[in-house]
Symmetry: C2
Subunit: 558 residues, 2 copies
């Protein structure tokens, strides 16, 4: 790398699953911006999480001076416990709530003692290595979110992800527009910004409008009110507490992550409730239905979350019934539409009234819409702009929008950087100069990275046409069949109803092996016999069924 | 059944996948209304289609007097070739285009000769058994769509699925409002109606608005224009032809179903083009890019459809490049959002401009919105209303909407019938009285119904944590291990990197079997040994990996 330039690299897997970890590098020093997990796409079967690929950092760990965390959402802090060790335990910087949430994660993994955590103030600058970092407050769907203005030897880099201009947020702290205006006067070199809502015109409505919608529901619902949102949407939980208090309802928190995150937020003062407002689930029996509000997880239709279990009458203390009002205070993330829809249908079947969707007013996004994105650019006037936190299409539409703002932003000012793109900047230069390796690192069960692409590909194949195994024992001295062929199949045909097909498959194997033994009856080449069985059986099954199950031969020599 | 009542039953699988086949029964006669396929949900792995479950009709085939088809969409005619034989080849009634499309399907399956097809006129009533059937024209996203007013001994039953009030449709034939008004004067007993767009307020915009959006694109696109829609959306294809002609472009049809359905529509005069407008794909080279429009399949992101292949640069004759404009003239069906999104991202990556989504004006729905649904009720004033063609939530919201229209529709007038619900009606009575069995009949590869729930459940399990097989040969005389245990695994762990785990699993098996043989060393109970291996291995693997692969033991006696 040219030593007098700064490098910026979004790490992560395939572009579509996000790039929630950034490398800012100058000379011998690296600053990491956020360290989040990504959620698997539908065809990553059985995968729980996807981690950023830190190949680029493997032989540069001694350069890493620190990790800056912008806010406490999973896609910005979730990879910390998985990667902190591999990164050499660099110090972590974040605001009070963010550090609170990341501490809980580190504690769970027994990594808290080894990690240095610095709680920062959103108006107080600090130094990490050669980088001067000025945090500034922004409004988002979790309190205590910040952007970072980072002074590097080549210029000012502004990292501003997950934000909106909300002039009436729940916590009373709107985006620090004054800070942005002052940064704009300092001729910023690069702006990294969220662009995921570029398809939405106008402004994202304020959190305050959701409170109004909640009040209407609390004023009219005849029975219990059950509200689902992301557990990390602390402001939303606060709004429900306030409506509950205003309309004389007790409130219950349901779902493990809802309880955990709310506990941290209460402890730190980000959630406030009058004494007696919150009750435990088993205390609900002491109140009338119209004195109860339940705040729960499951707004994405996740099968094991509290709301899905309530919809299946599988949740202790809360069985959905006639007169209940269920509120989805969230939008389905792409890919979750069908499971959300299923939960809504089940809730209606059990007699609940369900409030959901765009026109109901019970949810607003935490991200900026078009006019806000333009307003930010008008305030900051950066030389280079790197849109992220969206699909490729959002980045393209964002660039179109920027170019529509006139000659102040020439086409080369917007860089469309996908995962692994290496960008370099100085006062005269800003361009993608190369690419580092990024793959998908899967987390599945307890272990990181041991489910790789081969395993996921196998699962895709198994899920399509199933598997058929052929097992045969042969005499190692002469190649004669001693036992079998036996056939076991799963996910292909229902074996009990397919005896003819199974028998015919066995015959095919027998014929194939007899031919072989006549050709060479002295040595037995297991690999060859395996291959032979695989080929003849695959071909036979496709001819008979037009399907291609995974065929797995196993030859045992006895 | 009470002989003086009429029965109405929606057949089909789980409610969420639709109920696109209806039984209308009176005394000894049955009329079938539509016979469509349903598309599998995401967790029905490897399933191509889902058929209605005709269990109810199995011992009633001699009663079936005919099948009425409302229009030519797959979810209304697609099951005909699969089920016509089992139904005893009853005569089929449909309009010209519908019969044309169903004929092509029957011909492909070599069933055309055995089937009686009656082409009906949408203003001419006809008799099927004791039922007097009056078809009437309705506007929808395919031409030649009709509703049916069926006079039964107990009253008038109106079957009106897949419709909207479009006063300016492409084919110049709006919904026959006069016919509906006249039916309203005849005191209809039951109305069966589409309710899928009850969440949308106001009116569905006219097809004419799409033509205007197309004209704007055709007037300004700098290069080729590639438009994707459902092949069956004949009116949309006609609109593209007209824009192409108006702006001096040649038009290519791409994708097998696009070519097949368009051929039928051209032959019957439902599609019209000036001579020379349509060209073959290989002729595109003779024209400039701004003289080309391509109409193709793939609007749902289907991986093998023309547009997806173009987006992967895998389609002959059309490789996406800078300057291309791609138009998605369709809305993603729930569940397809992610794959559509992926195709859009890839098209942008290749340099195309992509036009899609709600605000672009390039698509309107074929279904009625709230105000249209209310207008229909105001015209018909039926005693009973059965909403369908939507999820359960749509049915509930529809009932809410109906009850909001005042006392003319009391709560008991709206029947929420899921798949298999048996409804009975007479002048004094209208209620769900029972339920017949309905399951999911899967079509996968060539054969119908041989992929059942067991197979799909296995695929779900395989797709989550994969499979691990343990094979061992034992001496049938003494139970000693002769060969193995061998272990083969797919979709669980990457075997090459997991030798320790595999070896430890083998040890677990050996230990378990040694214990057994000491207990009983005279007879070998293979089933017991199988069970034992399954249990110890499952437990061991869960302890080591927190995953639950399908464990499949296979004991061979030699």
């Amino acid at each position: 790398m040219t030593t007098n330039r700064a490098r910026l690299i979004p790490l992560g897997g395939a572009a579509e699953v996000g790039r929630n970890m950034w490398v800012l590098e100058y000379a011998d020093e690296i600053l990491i911006l956020d360290c989040g997990v990504m959620f698997p796409e539908a065809d990553m079967l059985g995968v729980d999480l996807v981690l950023p690929d830190i190949t680029y950092l493997r032989d540069r760990t001694e350069k890493i001076k620190g990790i800056l965390l912008s806010h406490g959402h999973e896609d910005h802090i979730g990879a910390v416990p998985h990667l902190i060790g591999d990164l050499g335990f660099p110090p972590i910087y974040g605001t009070r709530l963010t550090i609170g949430m990341v501490s809980a994660k580190l504690k769970e993994r027994k990594l808290l003692d080894q990690t240095t955590l610095h709680t920062i103030d959103d108006r107080q600058s600090f130094r990490v290595g050669l980088f001067e970092v000025e945090p500034f407050h922004v409004a988002h769907s979790i309190p205590d979110t910040v952007g970072f203005a980072i002074t590097t030897p080549v210029g000012l880099v502004i990292y501003l992800t997950d934000w909106k201009f909300d002039h009436t947020p729940v916590d009373g702290k709107p985006t620090d527009i004054d800070a942005l205006a002052r940064l704009g006067h300092r001729n910023p070199l690069v702006l990294i910004t969220d662009c995921v809502r570029v398809e939405s015109r106008g402004y994202t409505p304020s959190e305050a409008t959701v409170g109004e919608a909640f009040d209407t529901i609390f004023a009219t619902a005849p029975g219990r009110i059950i509200l689902a949102t992301f557990a990390s949407n602390v402001s939303r939980v606060q709004q429900v507490i306030e409506s509950a208090q205003a309309y004389g309802r007790k409130m219950v928190l349901a779902g493990r992550s809802m309880e955990n995150i709310s506990r941290i937020a209460f402890d730190m003062g980000f959630l406030k409730a009058e004494p007696g407002t919150l009750i435990r689930p088993h205390e609900m029996n002491s109140y009338m239905d119209d004195q109860i509000a339940v705040m729960c997880t499951g707004s994405q239709g996740e099968p094991m979350a509290a709301l899905s279990r309530m919809a299946n009458r599988d949740y202790p203390h809360v069985k959905i019934k006639d007169g209940d009002t269920v509120v989805f205070s969230a939008t389905p993330i792409p890919g979750n539409e069908v499971s959300v829809s299923r939960v809504i249908n089940n809730l209606f079947r059990l007699g609940a009234d369900v409030v959901y969707g765009g026109t109901s007013g019970v949810h607003v996004s935490g991200h900026a819409a078009q006019e806000e994105l333009k307003m930010l650019l008008a305030l900051l006037r950066p030389t280079y702009i790197v849109p992220f936190h969206g699909d490729y299409r959002h980045m393209v539409l964002y660039r179109k929008m920027v170019l529509g703002m006139g000659e102040q932003f020439p086409p080369e000012s917007v860089l469309l950087a996908e995962g692994g793109s290496i960008m370099e900047f100085d006062a005269e230069f800003g361009r993608i100069v190369g690419k580092t390796h990024v793959g998908n690192i899967y987390v599945d069960g307890t272990s990181v990275g041991d489910v790789d692409n081969v395993v996921v590909r196998d699962r895709q194949m198994l899920s399509k046409d199933g598997i058929l195994m052929v097992v045969v024992s042969i005499d190692s001295t002469n190649g004669n069949i001693v036992a079998g062929p036996d056939i076991v199949s799963r996910g292909f045909v229902y074996m009990r109803q397919s005896t003819d097909l199974i028998e015919a498959t066995k015959d095919t194997v027998r014929k194939a092996l007899n031919n072989d033994s006549s050709e060479s009856n002295t040595t037995v080449d297991t690999a060859f016999v395996n291959r032979k069985i695989k080929d003849v059986v695959s071909e036979f099954l496709y001819r008979e069924t037009r399907r291609r199950p995974m065929v797995l031969p196993l030859v045992m020599e006895v």
